[in-house]
C-alpha cells in the first residue's frame, strides 16, 4: 500500500488528536449520563455526581489539549495537516494565528467547545447543585465532538454511506480534495509545500476578537438552557430563576458585545456601507440575543405566576435552540445565494439537523407525562429513521417541520400541567413593572419571529418548493422599526414602575419629567435635520430619546445609593441612544455628490438612477456635505492598491483618507474602506471599482495601450448597438458605381461602404464609412474613425446568406483615461451615539450580572 517515506512529516498529532477526541467524546456523554442519573437516582447522588465531575475534568482537559494541539500545529505551520495548509501559510504573521484557528468550521466548533469547557469549570465549583446544568453542557459538548469526528460510515448493503463530522487533524495528502494531486505522491512534498493562506479580508483584529466573543455568547445561552433542563428534571419549576439570572444577563452582555463587534467590523473593514444590513448571518446571532434578553427579563420578575413560570423557560429554551438553528443555517450551505458570508457545506447537514432536533425535543420530553413521553419519543425516532432512509424527501421534511411545531405546543401544554395550581396569578395591573416587562419580552419575541421567518426563506423554499427571496434592508426596516418604537417606550416606562403597585401621582410626576426632557431633545435634533420624515424617523427618534432620558434620570437617582443597581437604567438608556443613533446616522447620511463634468444620461430610467457612486479622474474634485474631495493619487504597496483621497474644508486640506484594495490572486481582491472619525460625524470612503491592471502597469513602468479593447458585433442593417459611450446605427451599405461583377471571380471588383451613424452621449453625431473592397479573391478592409467620438469602426466580413455584417469597434483612449476611481463616500452624522448606545447596553447588562452574583453568591 502506501510505502512512501515522506521527508520531514510528523504524523503523530493525527493519532494524538484522534485519541483525545474520542476521549472527549466518551467522557462528554458519560458525564452527561452521570449527572442526569444523579438527579434521577437521588439515593446514589453522591457517587454519580462524583463520576460526572471526574468525567467533566477528563473532558475539559481533552478539549483544552485538542485546542492546544491545533494551535501548536498552526504556530509551527505544519502543512502536512490539511487544516493548517488551508488556513495559514508561511507569510502569515503569527498574530493572525487566532484568526486562522477559527476561520474554518472545525476550528470554530472547537472554539465553541472550548468556551463550554471554561464555563463548565465555574459551574463545577458547586457541581452538586448544578448537576443538571453540567449534564446539559456535557450533552451539548458530546454533540459538538461528533462534529469533529471525521468517521466514515459505509454499509453498502443498507445503502449507508456518510461521514460523521469533519476531523481537524486530517493529513493534507489524505484529504479527499487533494488525494489525487500529484504532489501528494512525492516523498519530499513538504519541503516545497506552502499553505493556501488566510483570506486577506480576514487578516485584521476584528477577526481575532469578534468570533471568540460571539462564541462565548453562544456558549452562554447553553447555561440558562441547562438550568431549565435541570429544573424540569428535578420538577422544581421556580427556584432556579435566581441562579440562572446572572448567567442569562452575562449571555445578554457578551452575546450583545459579539454582535456589536460584528457590526463594527462590517462598518470599519468590510464594504457593507453601514453597520447593519440584516444579512442572514447577522440575524442568525441577533435572534438568540432577542430571545435570551426576553427570557432574562422574565427571571427578574419576583412574583412567579403561572404565565411567567411558563414563559421564562420557553424563551430561554428558544434562545438556545435558535443558536443551534443559526448553526444549521450558516453551516449547512442552505443559505446559498442569500448571504455572502455563510460557510459552505461540509456535508454535516444531517448531523446539524439531528443536533437541533435533539435539543428541541429534550425539554419537551422531560415535561410530558409517561404515556405521552412514549408516543413522543417513538414518533421522533420513527421520523428520524424515515428521514434518513428516504434521503430527506419532501414528505419527511414536512413531517419533521410538523413535529417541530407540535413539540412547541406539547411542551407548553406539558409544562402547564406540571406547574403547581397554587402559583400566584399575574398582577393584572398595567401600571406594574411585571406587566411592562412581560410586554417588552413579547415584543422582543415577535421581532425575533419576524427575523426568523425572513431569514428562513431559503429553508421554506426547500420545504415547499417556493422560490422566495430574502428581503432587502428596506423590507426589514419597514417591520422592525415598530418593534424599536414599542421597545423604546416600554423601556422608558418600566424603570419608573415597581413590581406590584405604585402611587400614581408620583409616577406621573416622574414620567412627566422624562417626557419633557425627551420632547426637548427630539425637537432639538429635529431642528438640526428639518428634512427628516415624521413617520417613522421622527417618531422613532422621540421613542429613543424617551428611553434614553428615562434611563439617564434613573441612573442619576440611583447611582449613589446602589452603583451597581443602575445597570438596568444604563442598558435602557443605551438602547434609547442606539435608536437615536440609527435614525440620525442612517436617515440623515449624506452621499458624495456627482461630478459636475459628467453628463446626465437621459436615456436611463429615472427609477433606477443611482448616484451613490461617482467617478473621479486623478485631480478631480467633488463635493460632499461641507467637504470637497480630491482624488490625489494611487500607488501599489505590496498586495495593497491604495488610493489617496484628500478632503478639503474651507479651502484648506483637512485630512486624507486612503481606502485600498487588498489584492489576492487566489482568494479574490477585496476593497477595504477608510473612515475618518469625528465626534459629530464619520467620513466613510470606499472604492467600488478601479482598473487594477492600469495601476499594475504603471507601477511596472509600462505605458497604457493606445486603444480600448476592441469589441465585435454581428449586425444587420437598421440595428443599433451601444459601445464606448455611443449609440451606433447601421444605416446601410453603399456601393461605389462602376462595380465589375464578372463571371470570372478573379476579375471581380466591388467597393462597398457600410455606413454607420455614431451618436455619442456628449452630443457628437458622426457618419462613419469604413471601406470594404473585394478585388478578385482578395479582401481589403479599412477602418474609418468617428471624428467627434474617436470610435474606429472596421467591417471584417459581410455574410450575404444571413445578411449580416461582422464589425469591430474600438476607441482611441484619451490621455490618462484609465486613471480613475469609482468611489462612494458617505458622511454618517452622530454615528458615535449609536456606538455609545451599544456600549451602554453591554455595560449595563454586565453590571446587572455583577450585582446579582454579589447578591446570591456564586451560581
Amino acid at each position: 500500500m502506501n510505502t512512501i517515506e515522506f521527508i520531514n512529516e510528523q504524523i503523530w498529532p493525527e493519532y494524538l488528536g484522534r485519541g483525545l477526541l474520542i476521549l472527549a467524546l466518551i467522557s462528554a456523554f458519560f458525564g452527561a449520563y452521570s449527572f442526569f442519573k444523579s438527579i434521577l437516582r437521588p439515593n446514589l447522588e453522591q457517587s454519580w455526581t462524583g463520576m460526572g465531575r471526574l468525567a467533566f475534568l477528563i473532558h475539559s482537559s481533552s478539549v483544552f489539549l485538542i485546542v492546544a494541539l491545533l494551535f501548536s500545529l498552526l504556530l509551527s505551520r505544519q502543512f502536512e495537516f490539511y487544516y493548517v495548509w488551508k488556513h495559514s501559510n508561511t507569510a502569515l504573521p503569527q498574530s493572525y494565528i487566532f484568526a486562522a484557528f477559527w476561520e474554518g468550521q472545525e476550528g470554530s466548533f472547537l472554539l465553541w467547545a472550548f468556551w463550554h469547557s471554561v464555563l463548565g469549570l465555574f459551574l463545577l465549583r458547586n457541581f452538586k447543585t448544578n448537576s443538571g446544568v453540567l449534564g446539559t453542557v456535557m450533552l451539548v459538548q458530546g454533540f459538538l465532538m461528533t462534529m469533529l469526528l471525521g468517521r466514515v460510515v459505509f454499509i453498502p448493503e443498507w445503502g449507508i454511506d456518510f461521514t460523521i463530522g469533519s476531523y481537524p487533524f486530517t493529513l493534507t495528502r489524505e484529504h479527499p480534495s487533494l488525494m489525487n494531486a500529484p504532489f501528494t505522491k512525492l516523498p519530499d512534498y513538504l519541503l516545497s509545500l506552502d499553505g493556501r493562506g488566510l483570506n486577506p479580508a480576514l487578516q485584521n483584529y476584528w477577526m481575532t476578537i469578534h468570533p471568540p466573543t460571539l462564541f462565548l455568547g453562544f456558549a452562554l445561552t447553553t447555561i440558562p438552557f441547562g438550568f431549565v433542563v435541570q429544573a424540569f428534571l428535578r420538577r422544581d419549576f421556580s427556584s432556579w430563576f435566581k441562579k440562572a439570572l446572572p448567567w442569562a444577563f452575562l449571555g445578554v452582555g457578551i452575546l450583545g458585545a459579539g454582535i456589536l463587534m460584528g457590526g463594527a467590523w462590517a462598518y470599519e473593514a468590510l464594504s457593507f456601507g453601514g453597520f447593519w444590513v440584516w444579512d442572514p448571518v447577522e440575524n442568525a446571532s441577533l435572534v438568540p440575543w432577542l430571545l435570551l434578553t426576553a427570557g432574562a427579563h422574565m427571571l427578574l420578575i419576583p412574583k412567579k405566576s403561572k404565565l411567567i413560570l411558563t414563559l421564562a423557560p420557553v424563551f430561554l429554551i428558544l434562545g438556545f435552540i435558535t443558536v443551534l438553528y443559526s448553526t444549521f443555517l450558516t453551516r449547512s450551505g442552505v443559505l446559498g445565494d442569500a448571504s455572502v458570508h455563510s460557510f459552505t457545506d461540509l456535508g454535516l447537514t444531517g448531523q446539524l439537523l439531528l443536533f437541533l432536533f435533539f435539543f428541541m425535543a429534550l425539554p419537551v420530553y422531560l415535561v410530558l407525562n409517561k404515556r405521552f413521553r412514549f408516543y413522543y419519543l417513538s414518533a421522533g425516532l420513527l421520523l428520524l429513521v424515515f428521514g434518513f432512509s428516504s434521503q430527506f424527501s419532501s414528505i419527511s421534511n414536512g413531517l419533521w417541520t410538523l413535529y417541530g411545531l407540535l413539540s412547541f405546543g406539547l411542551g407548553i401544554y406539558g409544562l402547564n400541567q406540571r406547574l403547581s395550581p397554587s402559583a400566584p396569578a399575574l398582577e393584572d395591573n398595567i401600571w406594574s413593572r411585571d406587566f411592562w416587562m412581560l410586554m417588552g419580552a413579547l415584543v422582543l419575541t415577535v421581532s425575533a419571529l419576524h427575523l426568523t421567518v425572513e431569514t428562513s426563506k431559503p429553508v421554506i423554499n426547500k420545504l415547499t418548493g417556493s422560490s422566495m427571496a430574502v428581503g432587502d434592508v428596506a423590507a426589514y426596516n419597514a417591520v422592525q422599526w415598530w418593534f424599536g418604537l414599542l421597545l423604546s417606550i416600554g423601556m422608558g416606562l418600566v424603570l419608573y414602575l415597581l413590581y406590584g403597585k405604585r402611587n400614581s401621582a408620583t409616577l406621573m410626576k416622574d414620567l412627566g419629567q422624562v417626557a419633557l426632557v425627551a420632547f426637548a431633545f427630539t425637537l432639538f435634533s429635529y431642528s438640526l435635520y428639518p428634512s427628516m420624515k415624521v413617520m417613522p424617523d421622527a417618531l422613532l427618534l422621540l421613542g429613543g430619546w424617551f428611553a434614553a432620558a428615562s434611563g439617564f434620570i434613573f441612573i442619576r437617582r440611583f447611582i449613589r445609593k446602589h452603583p451597581l443597581a443602575a445597570g438596568g437604567g444604563i442598558a435602557h438608556a443605551g438602547f434609547g441612544l442606539l435608536m437615536v443613533g440609527i435614525v440620525i446616522s442612517m436617515g440623515q447620511q449624506q452621499n458624495v455628490s456627482k461630478n459636475q463634468n459628467q453628463i446626465n444620461l437621459k436615456a436611463l430610467n429615472e427609477e433606477f438612477s443611482n448616484e451613490e457612486h461617482v467617478m473621479l479622474m486623478k485631480g478631480d474634485t467633488v463635493a460632499m456635505a461641507d467637504y470637497r474631495l480630491v482624488f490625489a493619487g494611487d500607488s501599489l504597496d505590496g498586495s495593497f492598491a491604495q488610493y489617496q483621497i484628500d478632503y478639503f474644508s474651507n479651502q484648506e486640506k483637512a485630512f486624507s483618507l486612503t481606502p485600498r484594495i487588498i489584492l489576492s490572486p487566489s482568494m479574490g481582491n477585496v476593497a477595504e474602506p477608510a473612515t475618518k472619525h469625528f465626534l459629530t460625524h464619520d467620513v466613510f470612503t470606499h472604492i467600488t471599482y478601479v482598473d487594477l491592471e492600469n495601476l499594475k502597469r504603471k507601477s511596472a513602468g509600462i505605458s497604457a495601450p493606445e486603444y480600448e479593447e476592441p469589441q465585435h458585433f454581428e449586425l444587420k442593417i437598421g440595428d443599433t448597438v451601444y459601445s464606448s459611450n455611443a449609440y451606433i446605427v447601421v444605416e446601410g451599405i453603399a456601393s461605389e458605381p462602376g462595380a465589375k461583377i464578372d463571371q470570372n471571380p478573379t476579375e471581380m471588383q466591388l467597393q462597398l461602404y457600410p455606413t454607420f451613424t455614431v451618436r455619442d452621449l456628449d452630443g457628437n453625431v458622426d457618419t462613419v464609412k469604413p471601406s470594404f473592397l473585394i478585388q478578385g479573391l482578395s479582401l481589403q478592409t479599412r477602418p474609418d474613425t468617428a471624428k467627434g467620438n474617436g470610435l474606429v469602426i472596421e467591417v471584417k466580413k459581410i455574410n450575404p446568406k444571413t445578411s449580416t455584417i461582422e464589425v469591430e469597434m474600438q476607441r482611441k483612449k484619451y490621455q490618462n483615461q484609465d486613471d480613475f476611481i469609482i468611489m462612494k463616500a458617505v458622511v454618517f452624522p452622530w454615528i458615535k451615539l449609536l456606538w455609545a448606545g451599544c456600549f451602554l447596553v453591554v455595560i449595563g447588562s454586565l453590571m446587572a450580572v455583577v450585582e446579582r452574583f454579589k447578591q446570591h453568591g456564586q451560581g
Partner: protein, 130 residues
C-alpha cells in the same frame, strides 16, 4: 386576568401579521422567461455571466451603469443593465444573482450579488501549484 388575555391575543395577532407580511411581500427567484411575462414585477434571477458577450462599462459617461449578458439557470440568455458600478473582478464571478425587472428586452438590475469561487471559505481546491 382579563387584560393579560387581551395582550396575549394581540401578540398572537401581531405574530400572524408579521409572518404574513414577511411571506407575502417577498420577491421571488425566477428565470428570465418569467421576468419577461411580468415586466412590472421585481425578480431575483440567478445564473452565470456570458463571457462571450460584450461587457460595456464606460464610467466616463456614467459610473452607475454597466451592461453585460447573463445566462440564467434555464439556459436563457438576456442582456442586463446594472444600475451600479461594475463589480470588481466581475469576470471571475462564478454565480451571479441580479435583482430588478425586465424592460424592453433588457433586464434592468437594481442590485447584484456575485459569488467568486474562493472569495469566502471552503471552495473545493482541485489542483495545487508547487
Amino acid at each position: 386576568m382579563k387584560k393579560i388575555h387581551l395582550v396575549l391575543l394581540l401578540v398572537i395577532a401581531a405574530s400572524v401579521g408579521v409572518v404574513l407580511v414577511a411571506l407575502g411581500n417577498s420577491d421571488s427567484y425566477a428565470s428570465f422567461a418569467k421576468a419577461i411575462e411580468n415586466p412590472t414585477r421585481t425578480y431575483h434571477v440567478a445564473g452565470k455571466l456570458d463571457l462571450n458577450a460584450p461587457m460595456v462599462y464606460d464610467p466616463h459617461t456614467e459610473a452607475n451603469l454597466f451592461h453585460f449578458t447573463m445566462i440564467d439557470n434555464d439556459g436563457k440568455r438576456c442582456k442586463v443593465a446594472l444600475h451600479k458600478p461594475r463589480p470588481q473582478d466581475f469576470e471571475r464571478s462564478e454565480q451571479i444573482v441580479v435583482i430588478g425587472q425586465m424592460e424592453n428586452e433588457t433586464f434592468q438590475a437594481r442590485d447584484i450579488l456575485t459569488k467568486c469561487p474562493s472569495k469566502y471559505n471552503d471552495a473545493p481546491t482541485q489542483t495545487v501549484d508547487l
